[in-house]
């Protein structure tokens, strides 16, 4: 197939053309600084307000509770560090999970160096957080629970409502990293008991370089970037107007197409999973079989390594990702795959495919055919497979 088959939408998505179009006037036509007084600048202020309202509505929140950041990572950093600082006098204990994104885990490590204690809760074999362990971990000094909405590698959706209830019962703050879920799953912060939520535009058809943190009204949180009075004085820096506008447009489109996108992704996902599991032996699906993002699949192919698999798929014009050590830049494979109990060598052979509404059944079938060929080729090269066959 000549055309590129893009199956890495959890890494980033294509910016929708309508989003780009909505952004364009805000570079060279309506370029005023939203903080200026004149009429010309007020158009920019209005554009930001509109985008903020779209996002607030999407969450069932109020627009004064949405703060734009430069990324989902910044929102995660802000939520953790600034909450920790603000509630330090109450206690220095935070609870999170073992399968968070590095934006959370590395921020937790930073806080540990600064005297905070972090408890990392286990997940089961499907990647679902152990709620009993979570509740037991709560101490008088606990100030915050941070658990992701849906996992970026294996797609498993967490019991957010239950975590929200636990947090409420113990009068704790609850933050969720919803970078993979926002614009893909229905999220209502009131119903789910979420106090803070991080998201990013480029995972839902918006531009890279813009995110937000939802902070429930009344929550004490320090400013993370100091300077001007932008974002109600909580996040200084001249607003990135075109990107904020693009974010708003992307959310609007994501919501209006949510049901049909989910339906299409689900059909493709189920077809993909069924074919791969039926046609390629010694393969497992990582993550929960059904309670997962509609666009996520993650397989482990025994006896082979993920990076070589990715390069061979790339040669066939298929873009995918893996949790092998060689793709993570460290010696260990993905912490998420290890947390669900996979042995190292199985974790090394993982393949993540994340779909979009633009993928077709033809692309999926082509991809499965190629995966079959490539896995077969790599197994023929594998001394692990050789040993396995000899022992049988």
């Amino acid at each position: 197939m000549e055309k590129k088959i893009y199956l890495d939408n959890a890494a980033t998505t294509k910016t929708r053309p309508e989003v780009v179009e909505a952004m364009l006037p805000y570079f060279s036509e309506v370029y005023g600084n939203p903080s200026s007084v004149y009429e010309f600048a007020s158009q920019n202020k209005k554009a930001i307000d509109e985008a903020r309202t779209i996002i607030a509505d999407a969450l069932g929140s109020h627009s004064s509770e949405v703060y734009f950041t430069a990324s989902g990572t910044e929102a995660d950093n802000w939520a953790l560090v600034a909450t920790a600082e603000a509630y330090e006098s109450k206690g220095k204990h935070i609870i999170t999970s073992k399968i968070e994104h590095h934006a959370i885990l590395h921020t937790c490590e930073y806080l540990e160096k600064r005297g905070f204690e972090i408890t990392y809760i286990d997940v089961d074999e499907n990647g679902i957080i152990k709620l009993d362990q979570l509740e037991k971990a709560i101490r008088p000094s606990t100030i915050l629970i941070s658990v992701m909405f849906a996992n970026n590698e294996i797609g498993t959706i967490q019991p957010i409502r239950e975590i929200g209830e636990i947090a409420k019962r113990h009068k704790l703050l609850f933050h969720t990293d919803a970078v993979q879920a926002f614009g893909h799953e229905d999220i209502n912060v009131e119903e789910l008991g979420i106090d803070m939520l991080s998201a990013s535009a480029h995972k839902l058809g918006g531009p890279k370089g813009i995110g937000f943190l939802y902070i429930r009204k009344g929550i004490k949180i320090r400013s993370f970037v100091h300077g001007g009075a932008q974002e109600r004085g909580r996040r200084a820096g001249t607003e990135n107007v075109p990107y904020i506008v693009g974010f708003g447009k992307a959310v609007q489109m994501a919501l209006s197409t949510l049901d049909e996108r989910r339906k299409k992704e689900l059909e493709l996902r189920e077809h993909l999973v069924k074919r791969v599991l039926a046609e390629i032996p010694f393969t497992r699906l990582n993550g929960h079989r059904t309670n997962r993002l509609t666009n996520n699949v993650n397989f482990s192919f025994q006896f082979i390594e993920g990076e070589s698999l990715l390069i061979m798929l790339d040669m066939q014009n298929i873009c995918a990702s893996s949790g092998s050590a060689c793709t993570s830049g460290s010696l260990d494979p993905s912490h998420v795959l290890l947390a669900i109990g996979l042995p190292h060598e199985i974790a090394h052979g993982s393949l993540r495919l994340t779909l979009s509404h633009e993928n077709t059944l033809e692309e999926i079938n082509y991809t499965v055919d190629k995966i079959k060929e490539v896995v077969d080729k790599l197994r023929k090269m594998s001394p692990l497979y050789e040993d396995f066959v000899r022992k049988r």
Partner: protein, 147 residues
């Protein structure tokens, strides 16, 4: 990320496979780290490597270094094969990304492990060859049963 040579050896690996009744076979690396290399050598009575095959579980660089290493030792004497260093492997591939240099070391060790096996089987001593420390056979059990 990879040079043309690496990509070439990765997509068209040379001497990939197994040898029946090899003069020596060596396996290095471990599945936990994501790299295992196995080298088979067929050495004639004059001590010349007549044939060589490899099998590798690992990344693109691991496969390419194994492939190029087989080319570097084929037709050589045992002593010459012993002198194939990881540096020679990297050079033959026009370079490797820094994080992948360990793959070339593994290729060197795989050759040494196969030569060691050959020496042991034939009760001979190869000048300058040390017992390879990185043999995978200890790990085999947990690899096969851990799934």
């Amino acid at each position: 990320m990879y040079t043309k040579k690496v990509m070439d050896h990765f997509s068209n690996p040379r001497n990939m496979g197994e040898l029946e009744n090899p003069s020596g076979v060596g396996t290095v690396g471990n599945a936990k780290c994501g790299d295992i290399m196995r080298m088979y050598l067929d050495i004639d009575d004059d001590g010349i490597i007549q044939d060589v095959k490899f099998k590798t579980f690992g990344c693109g660089a691991a496969i390419a270094t194994s492939s190029v290493a087989t080319e570097l030792v084929k037709g050589k004497t045992v002593q010459e094969a012993l002198e194939v260093t990881n540096k020679a492997v990297v050079e033959a591939l026009d370079g490797l990304p820094p994080v992948k240099v360990h793959c070339s070391l593994l290729a060197e060790q795989a050759i040494h492990a196969a030569l060691w096996d050959y020496a042991e089987k034939n009760g001979i001593k190869i000048e300058g060859l040390k017992k390879p420390k990185n043999d995978v056979h200890d790990h085999e059990e947990d690899v096969a049963e851990s799934y």
